[in-house]
């Protein structure tokens, strides 16, 4: 594969070589695009350097991130001086071949890894690091990664909410024709069914109750999980959220704030017991006693986010969950510890809860939270 423009004989060959070059660096360029590039060259705009760059850019790139990459590749391909590279030519080819197999990256001959390219990697959708970070245990993040993760999480959660909403829409059928009211309505038109009346769509009852454990043992997770709950708010028309450790606090109102940071600030203001001990059973008891009548009807889905390390009275967790199960559609328990190797639900609280759960899954990484989408889609 030709790595530089000077190695080619004609403009046609250069463009084809350039298409191959950018393809080997991860841009989604196929035969169609190459053909279009040649057609574009035919219109005569290739005589102007900038116009040629812009033209190829609009043909070869499909996202703002790719456009950044393209700029560098363009310079690399068209602007390198043959005399500078003559000696290193062979070396280049080998390097090129190796890189073809690995993931696209921009660290190439003579171009050291600049701060810019780091930034890029961050933005690159589907970049390696993003994937890795998605699977990293939240408790093992460095501070810098945590910031970054938050950005990714915000984006992914938003996409998830959007997908969920769309999926719900697709399930609804267009209202069926309501025969009686159609006939009645069209009596004045001689009984001819001119206006079709349709059955109203059933209001969808999507109700979700989320209980988040904010005790000390959950510290590393609770902030991101709270953000996750904020996302769910966009999707479920009725979302009730509670945080608990030794007491239960209802935070549904705070979540209604548009700005997520405000919501988080308000919640931490109200929850004085952040990072204290855990009494899961007592809190569930408070929940059923205080809000049970009001919320546990119409089969809501209940999500409990907790590590199950209970210090309250034995037996209470089981009793409460049994009660809740009869009044809900399903109970989902997300446990961050489940992500650890060799974890078994041995903790007393968790053990008591197990028989009453419909779904028990992990919540230790971004990936595992995103997987919840499938569970919720059927809620």
């Amino acid at each position: 594969m030709k790595q530089q423009a000077f190695a080619t004989q004609s403009i046609t060959e250069s463009i084809v070589a350039f298409a191959q070059f950018v393809r080997s660096h991860g841009l989604n360029v196929g035969i169609q695009e190459t053909q279009d590039a040649l057609l574009a060259a035919d219109t005569g705009i290739m005589s102007n350097r900038d116009q040629m760059r812009f033209a190829l850019k609009s043909l070869f790139c499909q996202s703002p991130e790719e456009r950044l990459v393209f700029e560098k590749l363009f310079v690399l391909f068209w602007d390198t001086n043959p005399t500078d590279l003559e000696t290193r030519k062979n070396q280049t080819n080998i390097q090129g071949r190796v890189e073809q197999k690995t993931n696209p990256s921009l660290v190439m001959m003579g171009f050291g890894k600049t701060q810019d390219s780091e930034e890029e990697a961050k933005n690159m959708s589907g970049a390696n690091a993003t994937e890795r970070l998605k699977q990293t245990d939240l408790s093992k993040l460095s501070e810098m990664e945590a910031d970054w993760l938050e950005t990714i999480a915000a984006k992914l959660f938003k996409e998830m909410a959007l997908r969920l909403r769309r999926r719900m829409k697709n399930h609804q059928h267009k209202g069926l024709i309501h025969l009686r009211s159609t006939i009645r309505r069209n009596l004045s038109k001689g009984g001819e069914p001119i206006e079709l009346m349709r059955r109203a769509q059933k209001p969808s009852k999507q109700r979700l109750i989320v209980l988040l454990d904010i005790s000390g043992s959950m510290d590393k997770y609770s902030f991101l999980l709270l953000r996750f709950i904020c996302t769910l708010r966009d999707y479920f028309r009725q979302l009730e959220a509670f945080v608990f450790s030794t007491h239960l606090v209802r935070v549904s109102k705070a979540l209604k704030l548009t700005r997520i940071d405000d919501a988080l600030a308000l919640i931490s203001e109200h929850a004085h017991h952040w990072s204290s001990g855990t009494k899961i059973g007592d809190c569930l008891d408070q929940f059923t006693a205080k809000y049970g009548k009001q919320l546990l009807n119409g089969s809501p889905t209940i999500i409990i986010l907790s590590d199950g390390l209970d210090t309250g009275a034995p037996g209470l967790v089981e009793e409460q969950l049994r009660f809740m199960r009869h009044r809900s559609k399903r109970i989902v328990w997300l446990n961050p510890l489940k992500g650890m190797q060799g974890y078994a639900p041995e903790a007393r609280g968790m053990k008591e809860a197990m028989p009453h759960l419909d779904t028990f899954s992990s919540a230790h990484s971004l990936q595992s939270l995103l997987e919840l989408e499938n569970i919720l889609a059927n809620a």
């Binding site: 989604n28 169609q32 057609l39 574009a40 043909l59 499909q62 703002p64 829409k169 697709n170 001819e192």
Partner: protein
């Protein structure tokens, strides 16, 4: 449309029509016209994506057909629908006309009873290629996107009762997206791609000046500076260029000749469109932005 030789010719025209374009965008438009490929414009809201299609239609002197996408947009609203009521009346009128069943059926499923929605309109233009604007495509469902694929590559639409309708004049297609979700690769591959970003200080001043020629220099500078400042902050809704123009206009209408804190207090609503943002800016003190 004059015969277009070079992208630079377009710049001058766009400039006349109060659209400030850079060479990159113009090159993309040039390719759109020459290669007849759809152009996908992505970018934050309010940077003039839709406007490009409007100006393009003016340049070509072609009709503009616009399809606004939304969640749940279906084929009925986007392509065609049979005029049910008219068909019913048609059947009544045919009674006793002695037409055969076949003729009757043919009649009520003819062109006369077809309601053409934007996409069908776009490929049945008799005289020249129209500009088809598919706005905010990211809001529509994935099914609709898949449907568009057929249209964008073959420029034909199948209607079971009539058959396949092929475009007489291929429309120039402009798609816009705010990138609230990623569009499918298949769709992107059929399009030219251009990312429209917020303009820098200088460009934005040129744009506002272009739209509001009477604006005084001092006010112009202050307004654009403030807006550029707003964009750097963490706001719920980041103001676009159209908001900048609205704001400048509001200030001019109220007779302010420069941007002071009083003017700011009174008109903040035309630039910031969320209570939280306004509160945040007010808390920080409007003086910081003047």
């Amino acid at each position: 449309m004059q015969a277009l030789q070079n992208p630079s010719e377009l710049i001058a025209f766009l400039d006349e029509h109060k659209y400030v374009a850079d060479e990159e965008l113009v090159t993309a438009l040039f390719l759109l016209l020459k290669l007849n490929k759809p152009l996908l414009l992505e970018g934050p809201p309010g940077v003039g994506k839709t406007e490009i299609a409007l100006v393009l239609a003016q340049w070509l002197d072609a009709p503009l057909i616009r399809l606004q996408c939304y969640e749940g947009l279906d084929v009925n609203a986007a392509v065609y629908e049979w005029n049910y009521q008219k068909q019913l009346l048609g059947i009544r009128l045919q009674e006793g006309s002695g037409m055969s069943l076949h003729e009757k059926e043919h009649h009520i499923f003819s062109d006369e009873y077809l309601l053409k929605r934007p996409l069908l309109q776009a490929i049945t233009q008799p005289f020249q290629s129209p500009v088809l604007l598919i706005d905010e495509l990211d809001r529509s469902d994935e099914e609709f996107e898949a449907f568009l694929l057929e249209l964008l590559s073959a420029f034909q639409i199948s209607i079971p009762e009539i058959g396949t309708i092929k475009a007489m004049h291929k429309p120039y297609v402009v798609l816009t997206s705010n990138r609230t979700r990623e569009l499918s690769d298949a769709l992107k591959r059929r399009c030219l791609y251009h990312w429209v970003d917020y303009p820098d200080l200088e460009k934005e001043m040129t744009i506002v000046k272009k739209r509001l020629p009477d604006i005084e220099n001092e006010l112009l500078q202050q307004v654009v500076h403030a807006v550029q400042h707003f964009r750097k902050r963490k706001l719920v809704k980041i103001p676009g260029i159209s908001e900048t123009i609205d704001w400048a206009q509001a200030l001019m209408t109220l007779g302010f000749r420069s941007l002071d804190s009083e003017a700011m207090e009174l008109t903040l609503g035309s630039i910031l469109k969320s209570v939280e943002d306004i509160r945040q800016v007010k808390e920080d003190g409007v003086e910081a932005f003047v």
